[in-house]
């Protein structure tokens, strides 16, 4: 096999795993958009907040310690114990569910029957609030997140590819794990939404609010449920991205990378989020690989958005989105 093809193949594989990471973020958007028609601008910050909380629990940080120290003149920072990851993750899940309840109670409940754009504005507000709140609660410094997932080059892939092609591929083990976990997550979500009572109620609300009310579904409960699930998906995304590049403010910006994924896959499709993520991931890496020598690099920063723009021109509903049919 010629070298270029091998390198391209390696780049594609890396693109696939990177794409899974994008898809994880996009998934959170899709869930909330489907159930309530809200484009949740705060999804990225949700991932950041989840990761901050997880690290905070793990390292036994005292929440709001800076605030307490500043007002009372104390010198608190840590409780002096470490919470094991197996406890810290469920604890963070509980925090995310609590957050979902608060979001419903203080924001969504008051905006029932409002235009989508107003709800969108509310999520922008939520994003800024949560960003500041996370900083006050856990501090703004960059933190390392380690939940025990393996990192670094996968020797197995390296060996196998070396035996086949005479060239060892570099694939990060963390990204292989991310792909596996994302697959499990999607499978669980699919089974949940297809075969359980709450899942069916969730789809019903996504489809028609009035009809959902008439069969006895509480919209408020479903919203809390959706935001909880989105919070948990955000936690998974936060863990993956946080393990990869540390827990810091830039984590919330991955939400921007999810936008082109959504435009490709369609805002209402879970498989769309996955496929969209993969296409963006692979496209980005391959474009970088082939075009770098010609235009000099840094294409990864803008390729996804350009691809999204092309899609908007030719297929505005995305690959898997609901087709827009105007009946006159």
């Amino acid at each position: 096999m010629p070298d270029t093809l091998l390198f391209a193949l390696e780049a594609s594989l890396n693109g696939l795993t990177a794409g899974v990471m994008y898809a994880l973020v996009a998934l959170g958007f899709v869930l909330i958009f489907k159930a309530s028609g809200i484009f949740n601008f705060a999804q990225g910050v949700l991932a950041l907040f989840a990761a901050l909380t997880l690290v905070g629990f793990q390292s036994g940080q005292i929440p709001f310690s800076h605030l307490i120290n500043a007002t009372l003149g104390t010198r608190l920072h840590h409780f002096g114990w470490n919470m094991p990851t197996v406890l810290a993750i469920p604890a963070t899940v509980l925090v995310m569910i609590g957050l979902a309840i608060l979001v419903e109670r203080f924001i969504l409940k008051h905006l029932i029957n409002q235009e989508p754009i107003i709800l969108f504005m509310a999520t922008i507000g939520l994003a800024y609030f949560l960003e500041g709140f996370g900083d006050i609660m856990w501090g703004a410094e960059v933190k390392a997140l380690d939940v025990g997932l393996p990192k670094g080059m996968s020797m197995a892939v390296d060996d196998a590819t070396f035996n086949w092609f005479g060239y060892g591929f570099y694939i990060d083990r963390l990204e292989i794990w991310a792909a596996g976990i994302a697959a499990v997550l999607v499978a669980v979500l699919t089974v949940f939404s297809q075969y359980t009572k709450q899942g069916r109620a969730l789809r019903a609300v996504a489809d028609d609010h009035q009809a959902a009310l008439s069969v006895g579904i509480s919209l408020r409960f479903i919203w809390v449920l959706t935001w909880s699930i989105a919070g948990i998906v955000a936690l998974v995304a936060g863990i993956m991205w946080g393990s990869k590049s540390g827990v810091q403010f830039s984590l919330s910006l991955i939400a921007l990378k999810a936008l082109p994924v959504l435009i490709l896959g369609g805002f209402t499709s879970i498989p769309g989020a996955i496929v969209g993520g993969l296409i963006i991931g692979v496209g980005e890496k391959l474009f970088d690989f082939f075009m770098n020598p010609i235009i000099g690099g840094a294409t990864e920063n803008w390729f996804a958005y350009m691809l999204a723009l092309v899609f908007l021109l030719f297929r505005p509903q995305g690959l898997f989105g609901e087709r827009i049919i105007e009946r006159v």
Binding site: K197, L213, V215, G216, L219
Partner: protein
Amino acid sequence: MSGQGEGMRDTVTDEGYMTADGRKIGGVAMEMRNITLRFGGVVAIKDISFDIRWGEIRAIIGPNGAGKSSMLNVISGFYHPQEGEVIYKGYKRPAMRPYQVAQQGIARTFQNIALFEGMSVLDNIMTGRLHHMKANMFQQAIWWGRAAREEAENRAQVEKIIDFLEIQHIRKTPVSRLPYGLKKRVELARALAAEPAILLLDEPMAGMNVEEKEDMCRFILDVNDEFGTTTVLIEHDMGVVMDLSDRVVVMDYGKKIGDGTPDEVRNNQEVINAYLGVAHD
């Protein structure tokens, strides 16, 4: 005793009455007492009282804009009247959200069909059984014990209704692909799946052709016959209403102008003026 038309006083007692075709109708299931509903300055319903008896088919008729749908929305909790009381099963009903009303056994259909377009017929009807499923979220999540058993039981119940309404051939079809008449039937199936104490039908035959109307008529009668479902329906087609219903409330400009058996209503001069005669197109 409010809620009865002039001619009904002798025949309708607290225990019930016999219909013309010999069906036994029970006591009061729901009573609307002096309901007034306003939207800003517009009075949609003006001081209306009537009752609904267990097992009967009760129609609400009136010209366009008479307040029929508003009345149905009051019963199903979508609107809350400014004045008056809804007495359900002998108790005054507090202000409730529509989903709570649904959980109390009041199912409904809508004038302009509110189905879950993206779901299959089967899934749509299954949503009607949501509040019959008692398994908690944890059991649901791991699909274990009670959750799996309930799903099977509810599925069996739904299949019965699918059989009954003769929609086997479309059970897996996405609702968005169905023609209008069948959508109406699926909506009825979903309401029935809830095994409602009271079934509310908002213009079940609107926009149907003659054949579809006849089918729907038959289904409504069969449902009442087979399950003894108390049915409240709104309908424009006078022929249909008179054939179907045991008692009829007539509304005009938000007021009640008649209440009684189809025959009594037909001979009520005020009704003739407002609805059958002058105002009707």
